[in-house]
Amino acid sequence: MATITIREALNQAIREELARDERVFLMGEEVAAYNGAYKVTKGLLDEFGPKRVIDTPITELGFAGLGVGAAMVGLRPIVEFITFNFSILATDQIVNSAAKMLYMSGGQYNIPIVFRGPGGSAYQVSSQHSQAIESWFAYFPGLKVVMPSTPADAKGLLKSAIRDDDPVIFIEQERMYGNKGEVPDDPDFTIPLGVADIKREGTDVTIVARSLMVPIALKAADKLQEQGVSCEVIDPRTIRPLDIDTIIESVKKTNRVVLAEESHPVCGINAEISAAIMERAMDFLDAPVKRVSGIDVPMPYAKNLEDLVVPDVDRVIAAVREVAYLD
């Protein structure tokens, strides 16, 4: 096991899969000569050359669609968006082409493609460059949506995404690229898509958190332990398909649940999880489901305002104490 950053883990995953399968190629803005806007793709051009690692013009709709077309006829593209904010320009190709091709062709054309890049809250880049839009993609049958929170998950899940025969939206958290953790050295280390991970076991309250909210939930759980509250932290890792069974099992054990996410509360993944808990485990609840979400405003620039938007440890602790009727 080596201790590396999420950035390095992603780089290893892409490097290993490029080496493993000639059909895999990487394309996007600044991925090659510039070594990646966030340096995730550092060194890949030197190692694999311009045929496999391709700088594109700033033309998101165009290269996203080009990737889908190439996937139709036998290639396995990894398409990087400098940030998922720019994927908004490419949504027609992601939603109308990639997600639906297999179905509307009666099973003839599957689309093995990964759309990846950083998403979620960044630091002080205001409204257009700092937002969590995973619920858009998770809405569509045909897409898979993955959001890792540790270096090991990042590597294992990205390798699975690249080997998967369906379109996968792979959202890396922009603030987390430098986070470190242990990653297995085995080049065949993968983590299956669609499987939640219990990041911390506990007995009193379940906290469901993904991406940026996982380390925050774990910190909150540490502090709550000192206050005598045992929290179980579940990271779904894949939000479509969602491993709802693992969440339900935990809720049945703890009878209390807090759902944490950085995205807007309206029509978000937490709303979906909350509904599923109502349908499947309402009788097990000792308190109403509590959501902790990003504040429902466009992201502001000013540091003090930005800090108010993104959920922090104190907000998670307050929510847990609320469902545990401690205050």
């Binding site: 033309t59 669609g65 080009l66 139709m72 297999l102 009666g106 025969d165 069974d245």
Partner: protein
């Protein structure tokens, strides 16, 4: 290099460019001008007959009349309520699909828009599989899940009909990218209407294709109306072939009512793509005789304009050329028509007798790798 190619290509299309523009003054048609136009077009077409095998010419005719009769039947069964949804007919544009695809190899890729019944048939899909798809039957080319706008056939490298205007243009560019990446000499024909030219997807694709030298042939079927909006009301630079120059791409303007002109221009583009991985933009001027879709009565066009184009009907033109040059007589052409009508009737019978998709089909083909619940036990 690419600029030179563009100039050469434009020169090759000069004959058509200088030909009378049939789109001008739609309401003022006098018979003499009309006949002069038509006769000139026929003479041009006859000059292209040389060197082509009789068998090839007859096959072109057969495919065009098959598409015409198929679409007439589709309109009929649509009106009878037997097929639903949108139904965009290809009547009037047959020379484009047939002429272009006749210049291809079987393993070349074709991708197109939602007006694709003609392309599907010209690529070799059976009338049965296309008609059954219109009926939403399990035996349709997309198992009844795609319908009129989403016909696919992987065995023929037919990459489908696509429903968002211009959405297929980046996809076709991607297929061409893959051919070059894999080192094959397959080319991709990417069809779209002139209204798609106003979409960003068109410009983004042409830029990448010329920048990276991709073997994609962009075929703009300019039928002069985007739904009910005429080209004049929607496009600042209406000479679409000229737009290729923004990307230093080769281009040609082609008379889409002449199946042989279409075939020749496509063959030039195919050669460029196959040998040198170079893209081309072909603007093929055509006309749809029907409305945008079955629900469109087409009130935005005058009767005179439609009649003028019907004088230039690609099938009438070609049959006249074949007869006058003694390649086929009236009897043979009628026999072909009768055979084709029978084939179309048979496709209707097949579609009507086929089963609807089983309810379980609702849940198949969403993922190629559905998540295995047992994986969660890990």
């Amino acid at each position: 290099m690419s600029k030179q190619t563009a100039e050469q290509a434009t020169a090759a299309g000069a004959e058509e460019q200088s030909s009378p523009d049939v789109a001008t003054q739609p309401d003022k048609v006098d018979l003499a001008t009309l006949q002069r136009d038509r006769d000139a077009a026929k003479e041009r077409q006859k000059s292209r007959l040389g060197g082509l095998e009789t068998e090839t010419l007859i096959e072109l005719y057969r495919q065009m009349i098959l598409i015409r009769r198929f679409e007439e039947k589709a309109a009929e069964v649509y009106s009878a309520g037997k097929i639903g949804g949108f139904c965009h007919l290809y009547i009037g544009q047959e020379a484009v699909a047939v002429g272009t695809l006749s210049a291809l190899r079987k393993d070349d890729y074709v991708i197109t828009s939602y007006r694709e019944h003609g392309h599907a048939l010209a690529k070799g899909m059976t009338p049965e599989s296309v008609m059954a798809e219109l009926y939403g039957k399990a035996t349709g080319c997309s198992k009844g899940k795609g319908g009129s706008m989403h016909m696919f056939d992987k065995s023929l490298n037919f990459l489908g009909g696509h429903g968002i205007v211009g959405g297929q243009i980046p996809l076709g560019t991607g297929a061409a990218f893959a051919s070059k990446y894999q080192g094959t000499d397959q080319v991709t024909l990417c069809f779209f209407g002139e209204a798609a030219v106003n979409q960003g997807a068109f410009h983004e694709s042409l830029n990448m294709a010329q920048l990276w030298k991709l073997p994609c042939i962009y075929i703009c079927e300019n039928n002069q109306y985007g739904m009910g909006t005429s080209l004049e009301r929607a496009m600042s630079l209406r000479d679409i072939s000229k737009k290729a120059s923004a990307y230093e791409m080769a281009s040609e303007f082609v008379d889409g009512m002449d199946v042989l002109a279409v075939r020749e221009a496509t063959a030039r583009a195919v050669e460029r793509a196959r040998k040198d991985y170079l893209p081309t933009l072909l603007e093929i001027r055509t006309y749809r005789f029907m409305g945008h879709s079955m629900s469109d009565p087409g009130n935005y066009r005058t009767r005179a304009e439609i009649e003028k184009y019907q004088e230039r009907d690609p099938i009438k033109l070609f049959s006249a050329s074949l007869r006058e040059e003694k390649i086929a007589d009236e009897k043979l052409l009628k026999e072909i028509d009768a055979e084709v009508r029978k084939q179309v009737e048979e496709s209707v019978r097949f579609a009507e007798e086929s089963p609807y998709p089983a309810p379980e089909e609702l849940y198949t083909d969403i993922y190629a790798n559905p998540i295995d619940p047992s994986a969660r036990k890990l």
